[in-house]
Symmetry: D2
Subunit: 354 residues, 4 copies
């Protein structure tokens, strides 16, 4: 913390601020400048309430210096976190990009299998699909619930894909943690601290999406909530923020990828489907996400987006996904990263003949 005094602050006002700081159990370091005096505060393990100081006579402003997060920080763990999935070659955070693909919502066993086969063929190692959908309207399709989870478990058995799906509340969390491989916390729940803590007590990796108006600090602090409960396998995901711009549903903020990588050891993915909300923008922004250095992608794919029960407009066709995988793998190579398409292709090639 740093207290900046007004240019005309008196010596008495400066002293009063120092006394207040010391009375709160901290050390005050007055720092006279050419124009004004600043007072540094040290020894604050917890929070100093800047407001109380800000209101004192002679004070111009109070600036917070130390970052509040600990476990997410590279200060604590310098090496990148890589999340592995025993018994598979899939991982999130290493040199190989993690590709998560699937429909917005699981609508039926047939739909899930049709899409899963296509995305596995194209190289995805993870299958996503909504069982519980956070919908703006209470009258919109809300997901199939546990039935969808069971279908996804079958998808895993059949195609070897790891399952990623969202838990929208504590009740759903219990079931998602049981059936899925990765628990997703959606953007609207990024500061549902109760749910974050509960996810932190599960022993499955958590994919945390950035809130629509979350700063970098808030995003990292949300991850800190999960980690503070003992679950260190957190995956961050940029999915667009809300701005005045109206040509896309959200504004995809790709600069947060290098920003996170500078401060934190956690992997960060990008979701260009929600980040743009428009099918014709998914491919270019997916390429950009790989080029900026993201650790992977989440892509909505639907074999019949015209009939999708939710978010059809942003779902791409399987053949577009194959093109995306191809282009992204060539861009990944420029960054000395890879997309594990070859192996998956062989593994699932036989399935296409069924």
């Amino acid at each position: 913390m740093l207290v900046v005094m007004k240019a005309l602050a008196t010596q008495e006002e400066i002293q009063a601020v120092c006394d207040r700081i010391e009375s709160l159990g901290f050390r005050a370091h007055p720092l006279p400048g050419a124009q004004r005096t600043a007072i540094g505060i040290t020894g604050n393990q917890g929070e100093v309430d800047r407001g109380n100081l800000e209101e004192m006579s002679g004070v111009a402003e109070v600036i917070r210096v130390s970052k509040p997060y600990k476990l997410v920080s590279r200060d604590v763990k310098e090496d990148d976190t890589v999340i592995r999935f025993p018994g598979t070659s899939a991982s999130i955070g290493g040199a190989s990009l993690a590709i998560i693909a699937g429909p917005c919502s699981i609508e039926s066993r047939e739909q899930a299998f049709a899409i899963a086969e296509q995305v596995a063929l194209a190289g995805a190692q993870f299958f996503r699909g909504g069982a519980y959908k956070p919908r703006t309207s209470p009258y919109a399709f809300q997901g199939l619930g546990e039935e969808a989870l069971k279908i996804m478990a079958e998808v895993r058995d059949r195609f070897g894909l790891r399952i990623v799906t969202e838990a929208i509340d504590h009740e759903a969390l219990e079931l998602v943690a049981e059936y899925a491989d990765v628990i997703q916390i959606g953007a609207r729940n990024m500061q549902n601290f109760s749910l974050l803590k509960a996810a932190g007590r599960k022993r499955k990796p958590v994919l945390l999406k950035r809130g629509l108006a979350a700063t970098l600090d808030e995003f990292l602090m949300a991850a800190e909530y999960i980690m503070s409960e003992g679950n260190y396998e957190v995956i961050l995901c940029e999915r667009g923020v809300r701005t005045f711009a109206d040509h896309t549903r959200n504004t995809l903020d790709l600069s947060i990828v290098p920003a996170v990588q500078r401060l934190s050891h956690l992997p960060i993915l990008v979701d260009p489907s929600h980040g743009t909300g428009k099918r014709n923008k998914v491919l270019p922004l997916a390429r950009a996400a790989v080029a900026v250095g993201a650790d992977g992608l989440i892509i909505e794919v639907h074999h019949q987006p015209d009939r999708a029960l939710s978010d059809g407009a942003q779902s791409i066709y399987p053949e577009q996904f194959a093109q995306l995988m191809d282009e992204c793998s060539r861009i990944a190579a420029v960054l000395h990263r890879s997309v594990p398409h070859g192996i998956q292709l062989e593994q699932t090639a036989g399935l296409a003949a069924h």
Copy 2:
């Protein structure tokens, strides 16, 4: 819904869009214009997925026309909703402004009583205080929980104030619904749909705060979630939105007050404490909120903000609150509204002598 075709769209493309619309069970109304053709869609009770149409050949854009909310709308209920509290003169939504005041967090019985007495003396009919606090950091003070609820129940008995406190999850909701008079849903949970539905099944009024990046439609749809479960006593509350502006913690969007009143019958309050995050801005913005036509205010008051465990910087002193009540009641008079200070003053005057 309205589909706008490109200027050069062919007759075949227009027909294909019409056929698609009809195949989805709706009626298509082509509307040729000087520059281009638009196609109206009617008969859509539910949602048409605009994306599927947007991607068709020859289509320029798809525009949504009907509003998705029903129960919150003045189309359904023309008269203002007034929420009454049996056995008291307190109400929310009528000619008399609802004034909710108290500390950010309940810290102790002494603190709660000291503040409650002061705000009751100044005319507040409602007492607010956090029992469960949604904090950005997992290491910050999280509230006293049920102990705080019990203290607030005592405050109600002693001062006749109705109790407003936040439920941050389902577990807290059960207790809040038992002890409090009004269940608050915080900004970070505005789209925690699971919590909204649970609150909709309670028989206590719900105070719903606008999310940090919520549009008017999303705000009203969140209220619709609560109402769709049968609880029609919903109170909206503007508390600032997130913008690039950095002179206040949030940007208080007072224009949403007349915007809500035009579309909905629900009462809307304003919280200038969170809306600005700065003690020296609470009084001017509280005056502005009354002047714009808000149905009431939520104000953080602390008798010793220097020692507050949370949000001290935005809490005002009891004497500032008394000034606020005085100025706001005179502004309310210009709008033919009142602040019920006289009666409360007499009722609690004796208490000050205790």
Copy 3:
């Protein structure tokens, strides 16, 4: 400036940063803390380039402390600036609110006179009207130019109103400075520094509107540009900023009024017409602006808004303006301020009979 080192920064890295600071001609003040070291920089009259320091090994971040503005600051001039207009009782910045009213564009002599008479009768001391219009489309009505300026000069002679009109470029500035009493610089030109400097060389007061995405600092620095050329009569004006919110054309940020008043001696007005873009929101937001403590209002009034050539949707009718003046004067009284309606009413009462 303050350089915050990383928690694990070495003594050598800290020393290197200090050496760099000193080599740039400043003084470095290392400030060891419990978690990390911060280094204060003093002696910087001009700018230190924070980027160079930010990139050094061991540096976590660089924070700017001193404010760059001087002449606009209360540090330099403690008393409120009041701008007077010799030969009239009109002023901007004192206890009496400055009310500026008139059409978006001057369309004809008849239109200007009809509106001017109405706003003078209701108590406005200033008449606004566009001669040069900054329009988003090159195909939209661009204003009558000098002809409009001449009409406004006649309005001044006839009704005793002071004239406020916008200069969109250097050419227009010369003419506006000749004909008008107050030179307006629009939001889109708030950082047209060349125009600001030219306005600073004129001897007429300048009304500076906040840019659509301007921070408080940038807004004050734009005023500093004008003042640095020797023109100290600058009037600030909030007119809404751009956010994600879509229920108004812009989001009116009333909290900037007390924020400006805390830092600067310059008067600040509010424009609820552009700030909301909707006729039905002008009155409530005008009341709120007076209640928050603004030094005056700018209101678009049109006697036939249905036929207005620009911005008719946000122009209010003369009878709505009279109601606005009545309500605002009663709210002003709560703040011990006044709206000078009585005098104007007598002066112009006879005109109504013409």
Copy 4:
């Protein structure tokens, strides 16, 4: 335009809206729906003022349908605009990416030559450098003016680079148009319509940067201003927009690249230097810009950024620029585009030995 009536609007109200539309010289097309009636408006070559209709009894909202731009639109010109520079292989808008590089400000002949040689060696075909700088503070370095233009003309002669530099006002525009190959209009002047029109009367290509809070429509309309004066060689440039996010100076909105390409035939570049404001983010975002499909890049390069008089923090070193060119050219290849490094390398190789 489309007028949406309220659910309970009467037949008389609907008729009144239709009558109004017809009285304005347009055609009204009432379109009854299941829930409410909408009324289409056609025949509007110019603008219909939506506000007047919006205020009529029974009207819920008015929606604009036709786009106001013409010359920038693909409706008018389907093929991509490619801007060529006679006597050179340089172009903007074709398969070969346009790379513009150089310092923020021209500080001296030595500095300009040192940087120009480096960027030419690495493959840039265009040299940028500020002669006139739009600075937030009037006390900051404002550029060398015409002296800088002369230095850049020498750079062109020596290295064969085309010159891009900003015109901040009409006076600067005359000189820039004389000395430079491309006239840049900065973000702060994107809606300085007077300057746009003047640039439209010059016979040099204009590089138009997106304003900090400009929507896609406003951006295209600003280009339309230039084109409406007869200059069809307009180059768009995304350089970041202002949001709540604070980890970069601006939020680079890469999704506008495909959005522009869908609507307009004009080329669009990306400026990751201003778009992020941080040296360590320029390379990843430059890669992303090429991957998303931008037609080129503008990059700030300085051989001694520690001593740069402006924006040193976002300038990259020559060796970083060389790496950027290498990585971007490999990503460009994935999109079947190229970066013309080979040729330039030979042309200027001899110079390095001087």
